[in-house]
């Protein structure tokens, strides 16, 4: 299978220090890839390098055989979208306005959204189940609703590849599962390739088809959940002892934390 995104020996970070050090990775069409790793292991930096927010110090990234540094930024954003953890509520845009902003990569300067752009926005609002909220202002929404707006905005870019940085960070377990179910559905039914960061290893195990375990800016292990999520790997990277058994429903690895003080 031909890779959608091909990362070769990537180095980059902030100031003089590289946070990502020698990452090579292929993202295949249809992947639901989850990056895990302890705090400071370079997950977010890797995503920022892959989405052109940070400049690379070394290495190359190809999107469908094209070097992404040589793509026009708007063109790149028509293929690749990024959904952040949250949306700032400083300026109280309405949900519809925010989702329509996802059409910016498709518009020329000063070009107003066409009927088709508005149709697409409606479609994405319906897909993420927030059509009823379209005229609400962002500061009136709950964290779960805001996360859906973030995703709807990214989907309005009509990307083939969607990056997400901890989309479940501020959500309770009910909303976590709702959001990930939604992403899984988009992955399966709309053929959207997904690359995301998650902290929760069990969610990563349950939803992903591939997991990348990062440690100190390098990929320690990459593969199917059962290949990566072994107690040896986890102990090595997280310096924490865990039990790994099978989730009785999904058959995927299930990580159980073991408290250090057992008294």
């Amino acid at each position: 299978m031909k890779a959608l995104l091909k990362v070769e020996n990537l180095y980059g970070g902030y100031y003089k220090e590289d946070v990502v050090r020698g990452v090579s990775l292929n993202v295949n069409p249809g992947d639901f890839l989850v990056a895990i790793g302890p705090n400071g292991s370079g997950k977010t930096t890797l995503l920022r390098l892959l989405t052109r927010v940070l400049p690379l110090r070394k290495g190359e990234i190809f999107y469908k055989d094209r070097n992404i540094g040589q793509m026009n930024l708007k063109e790149f954003c028509r293929c690749v979208a990024f959904a952040s953890q949250d949306i700032p509520a400083g300026f109280s845009f309405t949900v519809m306005e925010l989702v329509l902003m996802g059409r910016i990569p498709h518009l020329k300067r000063l070009q107003y959204e066409t009927r088709r752009d508005i149709e697409i926005a409606y479609e994405k609002l319906a897909l993420t189940d927030i059509l009823a909220l379209k005229d609400k202002r962002i500061d009136e929404l709950s964290a779960g609703e805001r996360q859906r707006v973030v995703i709807a905005q990214a989907l309005a870019q009509e990307p083939e590849l969607l990056f997400l940085d901890e989309p479940t960070a501020h959500l309770d377990i009910g909303h976590q599962v709702q959001i990930l179910d939604l992403l899984k559905k988009l992955n399966r039914e709309n053929n959207l390739t997904i690359v995301m960061i998650l902290h929760d290893l069990n969610l990563a195990s349950a939803y992903s088809n591939r997991i990348v375990l990062l440690d100190q800016g390098m990929i320690l292990k990459e593969g199917r959940p059962e290949e990566v999520l072994t107690y040896q790997n986890i102990e090595k990277v997280y310096k924490t002892i865990v039990l790994v058994n099978d989730n009785p429903v999904t058959g995927k690895p299930n990580i159980v934390l073991v408290p250090g003080d057992k008294s």
Partner: protein
């Protein structure tokens, strides 16, 4: 289509304000009589003031909107980059060394430009402008220049003091219609260019990274916007001195009324700020006529309560 209605309402308000601005003054003259030959001089004077008011109001308010968006800071205002104190200092220096009044606007313009250059370069690091550095550099330069103004005023006394007051509180008294004409071009051009970036400003107001993820070259746009707002405020300072609050309050009022979408916000604010300035100018010249109150005093006294009312009401609605 709702935008069209809003614009029509605001435009009618502007026309009404212009008519009131023409007939009211130290002497009230009915509209019909204004067109007579013997009131020609008064008509011209008042017309110039109205044009200045429209230009100053829209220029400052739109610059305020643009800076607030790129810095995501509701307190950003057109004089953020130290233009006001730079212009003030240059004007005071000009008085002290005895430069002719004719060159005063030029001195103020150069002072404003100088302060922008200093602030911009202080804030730039590895080709990137960090929001905090920009705001802090602006504040520091303002403080230094303001203290230099006070230093000169304490050495040279009354004359410089008088000049400083004029610059610090502003006036729409147009001394030279050619200068007004000259300033009109950069200001109108600047407003138009900012409007061209309405979509980018929407995206940048969500955060620089988000804007980049929407395909917007954030750093270049920030630099362009800083340059344009600086040009607008430096040009306006030449003709009217420093008029506070307009660039801060009118954009906020309009955000409460029409929302933060810059495609709507910029044109509506342009009109609203023009109306606001015409009315403030009217008050400044009629309240204690024949004494003219500096217009900056009026904008603050009128602007602040209106803003507080809107803020409280806006909170209740949402």
């Amino acid at each position: 289509m709702r935008l069209k209605i809003k614009l029509i309402i605001l435009f009618s308000l502007l026309c009404a304000a212009m008519v009131i601005g023409l007939i009211k003054g130290a002497v009230d003259i009915p509209l019909a009589n204004l067109l007579l030959k013997d009131s020609q001089a008064i008509l011209n004077l008042r017309l110039l003031r109205i044009i200045a008011a429209i230009l100053v109001g829209s220029g400052l308010a739109v610059s305020g909107i643009a800076l607030q968006a790129i810095l995501r800071n509701p307190l950003a205002e057109p004089y953020l980059l130290g233009t006001s104190s730079g212009a003030g200092l240059a004007a005071v220096i000009a008085v002290v060394i005895g430069v002719s009044r004719v060159y005063m606007p030029l001195a103020a313009f150069l002072g404003a430009v100088l302060s922008i250059i200093v602030v911009y370069n202080l804030a730039r690091e590895r080709g990137v402008i960090a929001d905090k550095s920009l705001i802090l550099s602006g504040v520091i330069i303002s403080v230094v220049f303001s203290s230099l103004i006070v230093f000169l005023v304490s050495l040279f006394g009354n004359e410089a003091m008088h000049e400083m007051n004029w610059w610090l509180w502003g006036s729409l008294q147009v001394y030279d219609y050619k200068l007004l004409l000259l300033v009109t071009f950069p200001v109108i051009l600047g407003i138009c260019v900012i409007y061209l970036f309405a979509q980018d400003l929407n995206a940048i107001s969500l955060g620089e990274e988000k804007a980049m993820h929407l395909g917007i070259d954030t750093q270049s746009i920030k630099k362009i916007i800083i340059l344009i707002t600086a040009l607008i405020s430096a040009s306006l300072i030449c003709i009217c001195g420093i008029i506070g609050f307009v660039g801060l309050i009118v954009p906020h009022m309009m955000r409460l009324l029409v929302g933060p979408n810059h495609k709507v916000l910029i044109p509506t604010t342009c009109l609203a700020a023009a109306v606001f300035m015409i009315l403030c100018d009217l008050l400044s010249r009629t309240l204690f006529s024949p004494i003219e109150i500096p217009i900056g005093v009026i904008t603050a006294i009128i602007g602040a309560p209106v803003f507080i009312i809107l803020l409280k009401k806006g909170k209740r609605i949402s």
